[in-house]
Symmetry: C2
Subunit: 462 residues, 2 copies
């Protein structure tokens, strides 16, 4: 393939969603088709879509599936990317610099050589091997295809009872989606509280608020099987103690890095099963192989250790950085501080940095404070209550983490803490932050500053 | 006064609003009445109120004046503060460590000695000496008394036309208030665009949006006189070119530090007429005199020079810091980055850091970028457009300033830039910030990050 142009290289991309196609697009911006051939493989029907938007499509806030698609295969092809849809890479031959791909329709297989490789295979949802888990009416919500299948089920049945298994981001967002479609929703959750990405005392607030929205919250409950009716469809979800009738079941248990190909190829994986990269998103020890998105582990800047975080915003950044480096530019991904925001109806949930157990695991001693404040000046209409929990390192007072549960205006306040964590600020430095103040937007002391002031006192006392 | 307890000191506070009473309260927390006597003088009728809330009280969103009062004189007295209301300090004798105060009702005068003095005399509104400026129907909105007088006028007249003079924060907020009361509002503004705290290209967006709300915007217009009718009341505002009929006129031209007492006492004032303090809020060269709130100048951390910013959030911080230091603790106010947020109906306006002209004045060379984005994922209902302008230093890429004009969810995004400015981040560092992402809260690239990415390219090109 390089016969016509001896310096022309071939970039192969495995995975056609955020990380893979961002990498391909950015590489294409920097290097034209005469310099760089780009071949991308995607096993599904769609490219560059917002998986994070699926709950809102299912819930009806987003009308059409195609609104979630940022760029179609045709648009990518128009930019000079040789995109092979419904084609799954089944083997990476690192020594031979080639990948083996299978066309899902027809089964034909062939090898494609590469000069540079980007692995963006994403994540796969956890799907426990329970009796009945594959019954009609049980749905994951990882891909657009999954979302379409769930919507088809919701439209075809006149059931009114839904069980969501799992109470992390996907679980709580799907609970909202099903509430919005008029279902009676039960959330069955293995943990003591929903949102295990929060400390239990903050998760407890989420439990209360979700229960207040009419959602039946079942905590500390492990699903043991999915019960089916005479028609073979799901009819209930069983735990050790109880059965929860269900016309539809949504699995939102979490995801793991999809790295089976990488593992078989002998590429380095971390403790969470994700690919390990350097700061330029190069797979460690492999000069011409990059990886990004939900299949990699990322450096947590607060704890200094690797984590796996499946989030579209990281995947887009990774793709951008990989594409720059593949294209001859220079960019790095320094790491994350673990920011995440979510909502269930009017409830807003946010976190960044370390939970108490993360801090302990990292060998950090810390103080915690929790404060109540409001989103606007107390006298201004619509001022909504908000609880802010803050962790600071003992003695040094360095900010370690923030969690917020509240109503409108709560979630994005966590960004202030995300920047402060990145900058390594102490809570005392934070008390002087010049944050925007006007009565429609904040009390005279922003809730984050109220927490920081209390944290300063706790650091001094501790 | 120290006869009964030779170590007991007396703290005198001039001014009973945010800075003064925060200082008094914090000092009281640290030192009981047997150690520290606190005497505070306030010439008005109210203490510790939110002047920033006056537009919302006038506009009807806040029902009662008392909702704006955080702490009444009685509450302060119950905490052991000897509060003298309606008593104006008319002289500071620094050498003699005493102040002369006059009771406004009766006129009695007396000297009070101090060991420590806090000057928190606030700001006074600019009120040009124009013909007719004192006519009935012309109102400032600096104090609760001003707000009450304006409300009395609005209730007593059945006029429907209002002219607001000035298009800064107070002007635009009063325009909203009067719109909310059903007035036809004209804003007469000396500058080329409203909101001179923004660059003109961003002010232009505010002009368009306010005009779109039905507000008549008159820019580049200097008021020459206030015209009165046969009854002596205001009937119009005149500029060189035109007359604008008015049943009520609101002055929102800005404020200056109220430092006439300090000046007469020989205390150091800066170029903007505000008191100059050290980082502990001590008046420079005066061991036992502190000053804070709207009567001081503050260090701008981005330009390295002093500014005058009248804002409740700074006044509260100053008071807290002064009270800590007076009380034997230790706290400092490192400075500001110039963050401000405001709204006019649905329009949100925010800024932090330097405008182009501030950067030039500071001797900085810079690049600017402006981007359009949305408050939420584009497909999510309620996604509102937002324009973000970013300034970065040439070559180094250090963030210098951000301005945002948009709708719901626009203003408080400026806080991310405020923290980044405080931390001295470059725009390239900002592109990696781990900001909260979920479709109801942000596009996958937060608007601030979109601006940062474009600024990186501009720095490289520049």
């Amino acid at each position: 393939m390089s016969a016509d142009n001896p310096v022309r290289e071939r970039l192969v991309v495995i995975g056609g969603d955020a990380a893979g196609m961002s990498a391909a697009s950015q590489a294409r911006r920097l290097r034209g088709p005469d310099e760089l051939e780009i071949v991308a493989f995607e096993r599904g029907h769609f490219t560059s879509y917002s998986a994070c938007g699926i709950p809102y499509w299912v819930g009806g806030q987003v009308g059409e599936r195609d609104e979630l698609i940022a760029r179609t295969p045709e648009e990518h092809r128009a930019r000079g990317i040789d995109l092979r849809m419904r084609t799954e890479v089944v083997e990476i031959d690192v020594a031979g610099r080639r990948v083996r791909a299978r066309e899902l329709d027809g089964g034909a297989e062939s090898w494609t050589s590469y000069d540079k490789l980007v692995i963006a295979t994403g994540a796969r949802p956890v799907r426990p091997a329970l009796p009945g888990i594959d019954a009609p009416g049980v749905h994951g919500v990882q891909t657009l295809d999954d979302g379409q299948a769930l919507l088809d089920t919701l439209r075809a049945t006149d059931g009114r009872r839904a069980v969501v298994v799992g109470a992390g981001y996907i679980g709580v967002e799907m609970a909202e989606a099903l509430i919005n479609r008029g279902y009676e929703v039960t959330v069955v959750n293995r943990g003591a509280e929903p949102m295990s990405t929060l400390d239990p005392d903050m998760g407890c607030l989420v439990h209360e608020a979700m229960a207040g929205l009419g959602i039946t919250m079942v905590d500390d409950a492990e699903v043991t099987k999915v019960l089916t009716g005479d028609d073979g469809r799901v009819r209930a979800v069983a735990t050790e103690d109880a059965e929860y009738p269900a016309d539809v079941v949504v699995l939102g248990i979490g995801v793991r890095p999809e790295t089976s190909l990488a593992k078989a190829a002998g590429l380095p994986l971390g403790a969470h099963g994700g690919l390990l990269t350097d700061l330029g998103m190069r797979v460690r020890g492999h000069e011409d192989v990059w990886a990004g998105g939900d299949c990699v582990e990322v450096l947590d800047l607060v704890s200094g250790s690797e984590r796996h975080i499946a989030l579209g915003t990281h995947a887009n950044k990774h793709g951008q950085i990989i594409g720059s480096n593949v294209g001859g530019g220079y960019a790095t991904f320094p790491g994350v501080v673990g920011t995440a925001v979510s909502k269930v109806c009017e409830l807003e949930i946010a976190r960044t940095g370390l939970r108490e157990k993360d801090a302990r695991r990292a060998g950090l001693q810390y103080v915690t404070v929790t404060i109540e404040s409001t989103s606007r000046a107390g006298y201004y209409p619509g001022a909504a209550p908000m609880t802010v929990k803050m962790l600071a390192e003992r003695r040094t007072g360095r900010l370690l983490g923030v969690q917020i549960v509240g109503r409108e205006g709560a979630a994005k306040r966590v960004d202030v803490a995300a920047v402060a964590l990145t900058a390594g600020m102490t809570v005392e430095q934070m008390t002087a932050l010049d944050l925007g103040y006007a009565p429609p937007f904040s009390p005279v002391w922003d809730p984050v500053l109220v927490a920081a002031r209390k944290a300063v006192a706790a650091v001094r006392a501790g």
